[in-house]
């Protein structure tokens, strides 16, 4: 028994030495996301965008080879996320963490990032408060306040007087509702009613009937992408809200990956968001083209751009600080670059990107594909929901 213990120890130490030698000039990036189950679309979009970035920029930065290690957590699952992060940090020796599609998955790794001094780049999770949990969080997606507040300002300036907000009854929905109604009322509008709809329901007819009879001219909504959005937009048309002239104002409901499934009923819906895959810039064209080339049939959406800019940020941090996490975070603060979504800047205080928010209308493009066409811009919006 003693002998076998000794051999085991030897084996373990030999393993760790060879491991260390092999990664002398490789910097590993651990990507924690959902690659399986009903939410697997997040992981898929992340990975494809990372592929595109690496194909365009190579896998070497300032003499370091960058390697991505993927870990599946199967959906919102804090335990799995923490264990995955621990494994990536302890065994794989990653110097950067990335991914994080759901808020609990990001919050669960906050203490680890502080202990290991490893920057964690959030590609999606959109609750403002996440970044307060650890000074090593950086976010290249958006926050709900960042979207809802400009939407309210734009609506108030463009003829909306009376609004009903109808959101899904869970934290992101409530964040959106709070930010929208506060800002809309500040700008002189009236919020007639705040409706919170159950997360699980797909029957929106009663809510929309209520909105119709309330005398509102606009309905502001936030729903998770998926069947709920589909049912809500369908009910919006079928209950005659469009015919009654009640305009629709949303956020991520017309996501590129599900937009075509919504069909013609989606045409004309107005949303405020930070990225559309038809954003008119050479950088975005080349991003979308490369994505089509590497993964035919895929469409870029907000998850793709979050991951693409996240990798851009990681490359920039590696260039500035190599594998020194604390130095990398300092270097990242205030970084500015041109992204396929437009100009972005890493806010030194909130550590969320400052970006343009676009007002878009769903249209059919030349090939008969539904797209979010941008028609107005609210420039340089920071994370307005961050109160340190």
């Amino acid at each position: 028994m003693k002998l076998s213990k000794l051999t085991l120890c030897l084996m373990a130490s030999a393993f760790s030495i060879t491991g260390a030698a092999a990664r002398a000039d490789t910097i590993k990036v651990g990507v924690i996301a959902t690659f399986s189950g009903p939410n697997a679309i997040w992981g898929k979009q992340f990975r494809e965008a990372i592929d595109v970035y690496v194909a365009q920029h190579g896998d070497e930065v300032a003499g370091h080879k960058v390697e991505f290690v993927y870990k599946d957590v199967g959906g919102p699952n804090a335990d799995a996320s923490k264990a995955a992060a621990q494994e990536l940090l302890v065994r794989e020796g990653v110097k950067y963490l990335a991914g994080f599609d759901f808020t609990p998955n990001a919050v669960a790794v906050a203490p680890l990032t502080k202990q290991a001094k490893v920057p964690a780049v959030i590609f999606n999770a959109a609750t403002s408060s996440i970044n307060k949990q650890s000074e090593f969080f950086l976010r290249t997606s958006f926050t709900l306040t960042q979207i809802a507040q400009p939407a309210a300002e734009w609506a108030a300036k463009n003829g909306s007087k009376k609004v009903v907000s109808a959101v899904s009854d869970y934290n992101p929905g409530i964040d959106a509702e709070t930010a929208f109604s506060a800002s809309f009322e500040r700008n002189g509008g009236t919020v007639l009613e705040k409706i919170r709809m159950p997360l699980q329901t797909n029957d929106f007819a009663p809510f929309l009937q209520r909105i119709k009879s309330s005398g509102a001219d606009t309905v502001f909504t936030f729903l998770p992408v998926g069947p709920a959005t589909f049912a809500f937009t369908k009910a919006y048309n079928e209950n005659g809200l469009r015919a009654a002239g009640i305009s629709f104002l949303g956020g991520g409901e017309t996501d590129e990956t599900t937009l075509n499934a919504l069909g013609d009923q989606a045409i004309g819906l107005v949303t405020a968001y930070h990225y559309s895959d038809v954003h008119d810039s050479p950088l975005n064209h080349s991003f979308v083209k490369k994505l089509q080339e590497l993964h035919p049939g895929s469409r870029a959406n907000m998850a793709s751009i979050g991951a693409y800019d996240g990798v851009e940020l990681i490359y920039r941090m590696i260039k500035a600080a190599g594998s020194d996490g604390a130095k990398a975070i300092e270097a990242a603060k205030g970084m500015e670059w041109e992204s396929p979504r437009g100009p972005v800047k890493m806010d030194p205080v909130t550590r969320t990107v400052v970006q343009n928010v676009y007002l878009r209308r769903v249209e059919k493009d030349a090939d008969g594909k539904l797209v979010n066409r941008e028609f107005a811009t609210v420039p340089n919006v920071p994370d307005l929901g961050f109160n340190p």
Partner: protein
Amino acid sequence: MTTPVLSSSPRRAATSLSVLLPSVCVLAGAALAFLMFPYDLSFLTRIVIMMIFVVSFDLILGQAGIATLGHAAMYGCGAYAAGLIALHLSPDPILGLAIGAVAGAVMAWISGLILLRTHGITLLMISIAMTMVLQEAASQARWLTGGADGLAGITVSPLLGLFEFDFVGQVAFIYSVSVLAGVLLLCQILISSPFGLALRGIEGSASRMRAIGTPVYRRKVTVYVIAGAIAGIAGALTAQVTGLVGIEVFNFSLSADVMVMLILGGAGRLYGALIGTLLFMVVHHLAASVDPFNWLFVIGFMLILVVFVLPKGLISLPTRVTQLLRRT
């Protein structure tokens, strides 16, 4: 199920040894794993916690034959209770475990009083509904649970005031293994007691047990409460180790996974619960790290294979092999 019913006094020593056996096996296995995989302790800790959870489910499904799909209810209550205690009252881990056990037991008692009047499909459906109600409640009570963002910022003080929970996860692992060993000892004593015999009788034929005068309903509620307490302990451990409780602790898939793990290993035997959990988690982990996109195939295939070839679970593999050999 063919263990002799009466234990005569010369047998006492042997019985007390066999009571200790599962705990000793687990401790030895854990020590080996600790030395062999020093970099995977966080994953091993998850396995150990899941083992505690599956063992608690084995008590009700394997011993008493109560099939539910809502075992996550007690797990979740334990997790939230331990989390809230650590945040608002005292960060002591042992106290957290105790509170988690109480929360799980209370939940099991309340729900068990209703659930255990039914059986079969009705029981399955009501148990699922119960968990969904709890999940919705946790999602709504944002002021208390943090809603969909989770109850964050849970920190626990050093274990017994001496051992700080470390970054690599050594203390968390040893702590979880000790709890598992304790739970196994308790279960083994329970199973070999007259109460355990009554449970197996109920599993075999509830009407006959009723005919010989066993209060079937009361026995079922009792074992449900005990299993609930153990599930609560597993939940409390997760909350302490992860430092966050999300509403996903009440997920249907968690209850379903637990059942799959138990059936894989073999219901009705403590070792079955341990082996099933180990195999499920390890295969899941390996398959998911080789191919994070399609690993579910492997799990599905494994389950189909085991259910067809070894209907009594992996634990029956040795008997099955000897049977086959004898036949040829």
